[in-house]
Assembly symmetry: C2
Homo-oligomer: 275 residues x 2
């Protein structure tokens, strides 16, 4: 039985690229048109696992996806960092000079702003997806239009790359998480990172107190993000990622945080992809 992996977007997207790097090619892709429908495919059992972008070194956290994981009780079982490569691609035979219009995701256009400053004759149009434009150029044999997409899209939809690596910041890593409906994929010895969520009162120093405990338990904080609780003013939820050397240290911290904070939950325990 091949694994069924749900991704946001279509074949040729960055999510597809993550699946290739994380699972190889021997899996079945389930293309989802939104993160919501990706979650639905997990909950109804039609996908085994899902791949979800969660933060970007330029744009920061994708908070709605944290909320999706939390609300639907999903578990993060792994993470993967992908360096985003933006390539300008056209129908075979077309050249740079033929391009009148580029259609891509607003974030991709933003990340290639400097490149297009040197090509002021090209009109930039915001569109829903990066790979989807590449697919449409091939299907409808569109001339004069270019897509910004990963290299895998040029391969899949048989397009020519007329300019490679056109992103302004070359070091543009996006972090993806692997989610499923059940936890416990790994033996404890392999777990050295966790994502947690908890609530504190708006009392002075309450977050500092919690962080002191985490530090006392030898946890390193790699990410923190506060989010107001919509219906309870002055209360905050914190999404925190921690790394550790010994699972026992994290275990101890869990017992303490359970007592010290409200609504403490472990969103996932997994292997740090950055070591």
């Amino acid at each position: 039985m091949r694994l069924k992996i749900a991704i946001q977007g279509i074949k040729g997207s960055n999510h597809h690229q993550v699946v290739r790097e994380y699972y190889g090619n021997e899996v079945d892709l389930v293309e989802c048109m939104s993160f919501d429908s990706l979650v639905e495919r997990l909950l109804d059992g039609s996908s085994d696992k899902g791949v979800m972008a969660i933060e970007n070194s330029i744009a920061g956290s994708i908070i709605p996806n944290y909320a999706l994981v939390y609300r639907n009780n999903l578990h993060i079982i792994g993470e993967h960092y992908l360096n985003i490569h933006h390539n300008l691609m056209v129908l075979r035979g077309q050249t740079m000079d033929d391009i009148e219009e580029v259609r891509s995701h607003p974030m991709a256009l933003l990340q290639c702003k400097e490149f297009f400053k040197d090509h002021p004759n090209i009109k930039l149009v915001e569109d829903v997806d990066t790979a989807e434009t590449a697919k449409r150029i091939q299907e409808q044999k569109l001339k004069g239009i270019a897509a910004i997409a990963p290299k895998v899209a040029a391969d899949l939809y048989d397009l020519d790359i007329v300019a490679a690596e056109i992103q302004t910041i070359k070091n543009n890593a996006t972090r993806f998480i692997i989610v499923k409906t059940k936890n416990k994929e790994l033996p404890k010895a392999e777990i050295n990172k966790a994502s947690i969520r908890f609530i504190t009162d708006h009392k002075r120093g309450s977050l500092a107190t919690v962080l002191n405990v985490m530090s006392d338990c030898n946890l390193n904080l790699t990410k923190i993000q506060s989010l107001p609780i919509i219906k309870t003013p002055w209360k905050y939820a914190f999404f925190v990622d921690v790394t550790f050397e010994e699972y026992d240290h994290f275990d101890k911290a869990k017992s303490l945080l359970n007592i010290m904070s409200e609504d403490f939950r472990v969103l996932g325990e997994y292997k740090n992809a950055r070591i």
Copy 2:
């Protein structure tokens, strides 16, 4: 001389609504098609102040805007919370049954998802702006198409609201900041909130230490957000908002944070809009 206020978007947008609530109607609006161009209008002196969405109770922080404030050395001189009201509007004479397609910003569509579940015959199309669709419906007398936009857009572009307040979560506050190129708008006695940014080493407990100092100085933390420093692994920048009762308390914390953290900067000192 009327104040020139730069906004992201066009008249009838949520940014416009913030200007009406914060400054009244006796100012000149400078419509900007992106946050980048808003910053340019401030730097070149063609606008006096700018209004910028910075965080949403559903979607979280708009990190690129924090980066814009920081990189361009802007100062936050005020904040304003706007409850977002989504209204479905059409050309006069059209009714709910005439609507075949709704065009709006992906975030607005997301926030009205439940409403459209009851109207599965309406096609949802992602578009760049909310108010811009309202404007186009009037200019081109578009039938069968509706916009989701604030009430001010229906007034301005003479459209009929066929369904009011269609957002799923009624309590959807977005926080906006008022920015300019120079600081010091307010006397110290009126300042009780500040936005700061600093860097810490990836040493265990280094953030907890800084938060302890803030707590010792009687500062309350209302928001925290980590962001990896792109070119320096294991270093993190923190964007933090604090409130305080006495400016002197904040002054003391500033001196300490200047010594304890790297690259400490005050992004703005202003009046808390939530009291």
